[in-house]
């Protein structure tokens, strides 16, 4: 990979971009470490962390979200040190599925997990993770589906305007030799031995709510303060920020926070319009500060459709790095609309960060729909209107 090749030279603008840009905090590693000459070796160590790869555009270290199609839409993956905010769909069906894909990807890659929830015990969440698809099993099913489509497609091809054939195809099948991004079978559970072999920390708010605070009360709600302390503790104890001299961490911490902002966390922004309007935004700010200074990536699901004060939603969007909104068709009038009959909902990519760069990778296809067909969660560009749906 080009990124690894330039690491050795260390000179020249691309080299320094890659070395410093592999993550924002790599520079702090280089300054703080006792071995000042360790910059090259520490960088090559970072590159060799399982489940990560440098971004093609700026050498940023990326991890997979668990959905290769979503990785492609986000410019290669989720950057280490950033927050991915998922705006939940109305009944929290597909967003919790994305949450599980994110955690399952962490287990497959051997990352450490930190699961925080106020609704479900993290141990139960981990029991329900989808099983990874092995390449040969998937290939069989994929070929089957492709055959069914092929006859229909060849007829349709003649009718469609040529412009639509040029639209890009989202990655729909497994690249057999890829180590980045795996496919999951939503109908099967992750094997027990994989879960037991993984390293994970759980934060279940009802269990932790009774213990005392050792921080003076600021405007954050009790639940958020405890969660921040828990995360900071794990990051420090396990050495993800490089400040603990005993621990040399070479792994990524995947943080998953479910239903942030819901009343179960003790926050009232979903109940009233004049609730505590700064608690959630302060939490996000300090959380992002923690992420930027450590080798971690975070996915948060948030029921933004319940937040009464719309100003908070725009502030939350500005404070997050990547924001993806899910809109499912269940219960809406679109469920019976023949235009949408093949799909279960729409995906809106609301924000992608420009990290270490003036520009970013943005997909040209703006109308995206998803469907959960048999086992797979697929994302496709959608051209409903008067043209039959092509798999584009």
């Amino acid at each position: 990979m080009a990124a690894v090749a330039t690491c050795g030279t260390g000179a020249g603008s691309t080299g320094s971009v890659v070395a410093a840009g592999s993550k924002n905090h790599v520079t702090s590693f280089q300054r703080r470490g006792p071995r000042a000459s360790g910059s090259d070796s520490s960088y090559s160590r970072l590159v060799s962390i399982a489940g990560t790869r440098p971004s093609v555009r700026n050498g940023q270290l990326l991890v997979s979200t668990g959905l290769p199609a979503l990785d492609q839409l986000l410019g290669g993956g989720l950057a280490v040190g950033t927050v991915l905010l998922i705006e939940e769909d109305k009944y929290n069906i597909y967003s919790s599925l994305l949450f599980k894909y994110f955690l399952a990807e962490g287990i497959i890659n051997g990352h450490t997990l930190l699961v925080a929830s106020a609704k479900e015990d993290p141990a139960d969440i981990l029991q329900e993770l989808p099983a990874p698809l092995l390449d040969d099993n998937f290939k069989k099913d994929f070929d089957e589906e492709a055959c069914n489509h092929k006859t229909a497609e060849s007829n349709i091809k003649m009718k469609i305007a040529w412009r639509y054939q040029l639209l890009p195809k989202m990655e729909a099948g497994p690249v057999s030799s890829s180590r980045f991004g795996h496919y999951y079978d939503a109908s099967k559970k992750m094997p027990q031995e994989l879960i037991e072999a993984s390293k994970w920390h759980g934060f279940f708010f009802p269990e932790k709510s009774s213990s005392t605070l050792n921080i003076e009360p600021c405007s954050l709600t009790h639940g958020y303060i405890k969660l921040l302390q828990f995360i900071q503790n794990i990051i420090y104890e396990e050495g993800f920020d490089g400040s603990n001299p005993q621990k040399k961490q070479k792994n990524i911490l995947r943080i998953g926070i479910q239903n942030l902002g819901s009343p179960l966390w003790g926050d009232d922004i979903c109940c009233t319009e004049n609730g505590n309007s700064h608690s959630l935004t302060k939490f996000l700010y300090v959380l992002r500060g923690l992420l930027r200074t450590s080798l971690s990536a975070c996915m948060i699901t948030m029921p933004t459709h319940l937040i009464q004060n719309k100003a908070i939603i725009s502030r939350v969007t500005n404070l997050s790095d990547t924001v993806v909104g899910l809109e499912s068709f269940i219960g809406s009038e679109r469920e019976t609309n023949p235009l949408y009959k093949d799909y279960h909902g729409l995906i809106h990519i609301r924000q992608i960060p420009r990290l270490n760069n003036l520009i970013y990778d943005v997909s040209d296809v703006k109308d995206l729909a998803f469907k959960l067909k048999r086992k797979l969660f697929t994302i496709e560009g959608w051209r409903g209107r008067s043209f039959p749906n092509l798999k584009i």
């Binding site: 520079t27 900071q232 725009s314 500005n318 760069n357």
Partner: protein, 266 residues
């Protein structure tokens, strides 16, 4: 800095004006390229810069700065740049009680009244050097961005007071400049943000407003930039001068063109 933007603003690093408040705002798009422009512009103009960076980390600005021809690490080491990294300091302030007042002290407090510690930090950073030799041209305060302060619990009035104090010290007393970015929330009813934006618009000498295109996403035109020159202290019968351009952001520069004259269209 972007040479094309310098031409539009009719300024170069050698002839930078003094005592001005420039307001950057973005609506429906990301206006951070303007922050990178002014940061590299004032560093090249040999000014002493105090950068309150609340939204991104130091290495982000450094890497982009290198593409634009300035090195923030060198500037910081030789004292030209004083950098307050909000994200990193917030972790220190929040989890550990600090002995001395920290500029981001309000993160720990339930009802912070004002931004005085932050103002003290800025005043200290842009203090003129005592040995009589003017090493740097003029002090500049750069803030990215002020809307974050609203999200962190400060009221719009507290932020306006902070800017007022900074203007008195930096612009009037020390003949320097201030550049601040504020997000325009558009139709979401963020009243505090609107108060802040309107209040600052009335005080600014120059307003640069980056807007997304009304027609939606376009690959070749990333947005529209409105430039408004004002004279806040002298009410004149003359109308304020205003220009509108469209722009496309590239890897190391931004190209500007008149509306509808994008090279992709011609």
């Amino acid at each position: 800095m972007f040479p094309e933007l310098n031409n539009l603003l009719n300024t170069t690093p050698d002839r930078a004006e003094q005592g001005k408040l420039t307001l950057l705002c973005d609506a429906n798009t990301d206006g951070s390229f303007l922050v990178h422009h002014f940061l590299s512009f004032y560093l090249k103009a040999n000014c002493k810069v105090c950068f309150v960076a609340l939204i991104q980390s130091f290495s982000h600005y450094n890497i982009v700065g290198q593409k634009l021809g300035v090195s923030l690490t060198v500037a910081r080491e030789c004292g030209q740049l004083v950098f307050l990294e909000g994200l990193k300091s917030s972790v220190d302030v929040f989890f550990r009680a600090q002995a001395e007042p920290h500029p981001l002290q309000f993160l720990r407090e339930a009802n912070a009244e004002n931004l005085q510690p932050l103002y003290e930090f800025v005043r200290e950073a842009l203090k003129p050097v005592d040995d009589g030799e003017a090493a740097w041209r003029c002090p500049v305060l750069l803030v990215d961005d002020l809307s974050v302060l609203l999200s962190l619990g400060m009221g719009a009035v507290a932020v306006l007071d902070f800017i007022h104090y900074c203007r008195a010290t930096v612009c009037w007393e020390r003949k320097g400049n201030i550049v601040a970015l504020v997000h325009d929330s558009g139709d979401t009813e963020d009243e505090e943000n609107n108060i802040l934006l309107n209040g600052l618009s009335h005080q600014s000498h120059l307003i640069l407003r980056a807007e997304g295109l009304a027609t939606g996403f376009c690959r070749d035109v990333h947005g529209q930039l409105r430039i408004l020159w004002r004279t806040p202290s002298q009410p004149t019968t003359q109308r304020d001068q205003s220009l509108t351009y469209q722009y496309k952001i590239q890897d190391k520069s931004v190209s500007f063109f008149a509306k509808g004259m994008s090279p992709a269209v011609l």
